[in-house]
Assembly symmetry: C2
Homo-oligomer: 421 residues x 2
């Protein structure tokens, strides 16, 4: 079984429940058995169990952001956080909801020295009916488990963590903003915490979750961004970690972002190999739309080849576009024209030629934070490759898909992707 | 100026000293000016100044390790640690020596989420005359500054930090072990600490130093290790961070180490590209010795091409071998034979063919923790490539160089590389 598909399968060992009846169980050695079932004869250790949750409410709630105040991304945090500790010897401990506060690490903690850290970005939305929903949390739990396995961090039962997220969000429900385009950004993070300075699988870990109310990523509306095609630095390479949401994928990209900004571009476009394959847009997945030879449109995104993050927004855009092509029509999407969806490599040469010939329709990034970000040009090898942009900044595919997707997220359109908190 | 050579040049701005006379200064915006001098007109901010050191001694010293007790790598830490905080607005604050204790981070700290962390591994040795010396600390300070610049972390005046290291080691001098092969391992670490969840240059940072008394890495003597040639995972790639000592280079390697161990090998050998170029041995630099066509020996290590860590031990081995070739004879090294030193790429095919033909003399890893690690075989594509090993585990080059190098480090051989604490 390959690492990218490997996930630990939680076992409910009913026979062992007599010893510790109230706990969920998993087989020990999971962090030593990436992609394999636990070996026979290994002891069972406690898994994450939402029923064991202990809640310690804050005695001094913070002031809620004033209605209408700008909520910049990732600067304001709610009153509480979730913490679940793990040790190699004793498995997952009882989950704790505590007042938001510092994480105290021994100075030799492996997360500090060797970056043993995986995380997720998720959102919860307050609907007009007052309900709060999370968007496709199962996808995030699956990916966090895959990320954990890539770093030999412990894996866990995602359903239990979703239940705990619900309880955390319920407790801090007044922090979920109501205004259009606002949401509660949720950041589950899993780190190695043991303090032995060796490059080894962590023997102690902490899964914690913090929440941040956020306003629209582009508060003044969609203004297509200029990108700089980065050829000096890489984000990922075959055999690396680009397909996982790991801390290690981010720090090295800051210099590329700075170089893009110095050259007058807002973000950078990650290109791979001598062919300059388009891989990702800053911290977002990349989508390109071409005119097809038969008069239709082709919506393209790079394939999940081990270098591309399997984004939840990426997956949602693909699903909606494929659904539209199959007849589940999305309002505003071209109807006379066939929309073909492809996961295939695209080079800068293809985009550049399509820009010149008129075959290029649009190019955009997708991600949880900004949902969809249209692009207006790419600085590439000394000149700018121009990207068509539609009225209001969005193109003929990204516009209707953005409207439909955010309609689902905000509860205007019913969809099974929404999970009520 | 390329990033790899970029270093911030500290300026002592004498004219500005009138305002804040006791502080050393540097030009603001350094983390935004990788490899460039500060722009004219930018305000000067305080640099690290050893004269500002504040010492808060522990009230409850820990028990020293019992003489003769085994000191496993990175598990025991001394009584004190050094901390120096930095902010974008105010530069470097006064250095603090404090009792060894936890580092308390906001849960959104960038080091946790985006791995903004660079570190060093250094050693101090207690000599027979009672003096304690550090080995080539200037090399570590230079590399830590290069690493910091790669991540847009703040840079600093390495000489000031060396002075602070001296004071820290003097305070904890009873922790420097005296037994042969023992030393004090020193871990300077620089992390981004601000709590804004954006992938940006850190606006707050902490440089801290912890120290750990360590015994010989191989307490039972040199036993050449079996390596597994890793082709499924990468350590580094062009445009990445392999040439810098960053946290991000370590977590992704744990699964490769686990795969090597599962296959019955002690460590893994990092191979690059379809040619399977030898790059590094686990967390060490790689050296290979071949018989030359003219009857001499060729000592080869991969070149500093952007993927190889510029190891201090690597540099020292090269310097000693080149010195020997130039006449500064190393005891035990072949004298009749010419020893040629090369920094050039080596493929597994070359090593495999040399193993079969008898041209291969030895292969070893170098690093601060273990100094020199001889290799006995490489598991590669289903079979083992055998490496000759000499009496006592070491080969004809590694043995004499190890003896000479550790002789310098232990003070038996006088050398300018030793810096008295």
């Amino acid at each position: 079984m390959s690492l990218s598909t490997a996930m630990f399968r939680t076992r409910l060992a009913h026979t062992a429940r007599r010893q510790l009846p109230a706990r969920r169980w998993y087989a020990a050695g999971v962090s030593g058995d990436v992609g394999k079932d636990a070996k026979a004869g290994q002891p069972l250790l406690p898994g994450i169990d939402a029923l064991q949750l202990q809640v310690n409410k804050t005695a001094s709630p913070k002031q809620l952001p004033a209605p209408g105040a700008p909520l910049l991304f990732g600067r304001t945090f709610t009153d509480h956080m979730l913490k679940i500790r793990w040790t190699e010897q004793a498995g997952w401990e009882a989950p704790q909801i505590e007042p938001y506060g510092t994480i105290n690490l021994v100075p030799s903690a492996v997360v500090i020295h060797y970056a043993q850290s995986a995380f997720e970005g998720m959102k919860a939305y307050k609907r007009a009916d007052g309900n709060v929903t999370m968007f496709r949390p199962d996808m995030n739990m699956k990916r966090l488990n895959n990320s954990a396995a890539r770093l030999a961090l412990p894996t866990f039962d995602g359903e239990q963590v979703i239940e705990l997220l619900k309880q955390l969000i319920r407790l801090d429900k007044e922090w979920v903003p109501e205004a259009p385009g606002h949401s509660l950004y949720i950041r589950p993070t899993l780190i190695g915490t043991n303090g032995t300075l060796g490059v080894q699988p962590p023997t102690e870990a902490l899964l914690f979750v913090i929440c941040s109310p956020v306003g629209p990523y582009y508060p003044t509306g969609f203004k297509p961004v200029p990108l700089y095609g980065t050829t000096e630095y890489i984000r990922a390479a075959p055999g690396g970690t680009g397909a996982y949401k790991l801390a290690v994928n981010y720090a090295p990209g800051v210099v590329a972002q700075k170089a893009a900004a110095s050259a007058g571009y807002q973000q950078n476009l990650w290109l791979h190999g001598p062919e300059h394959y388009i891989t990702e847009v800053g911290t977002m997945n990349a989508f390109i739309v071409f005119h097809d030879a038969d008069g239709g449109l082709e919506l393209v995104t790079p394939p999940l080849d081990g270098m591309i993050l399997p984004g939840v927004t990426r997956d949602s855009v693909l699903a909606l576009a494929r659904g539209h092509a199959a007849g589940a029509r999305i309002e505003g999407m071209p109807v006379g024209k066939k929309v073909r969806v492809s996961e295939r490599p695209v080079t800068m040469e293809e985009v550049s030629e399509a820009s010149t010939s008129g075959r290029l329709v649009e190019l955009f990034g997708t991600g949880t934070a900004a949902v969809i970000t249209p692009v207006e040009k790419i600085g590439y090898q000394g000149s700018d490759v121009l990207i068509p942009t539609g009225p209001g900044g969005m193109g003929p595919i990204s516009g209707p898909i953005w409207k439909h997707l955010t309609g689902i997220q905000n509860g205007l359109i019913e969809h099974e992707w929404n999970v009520v908190v």
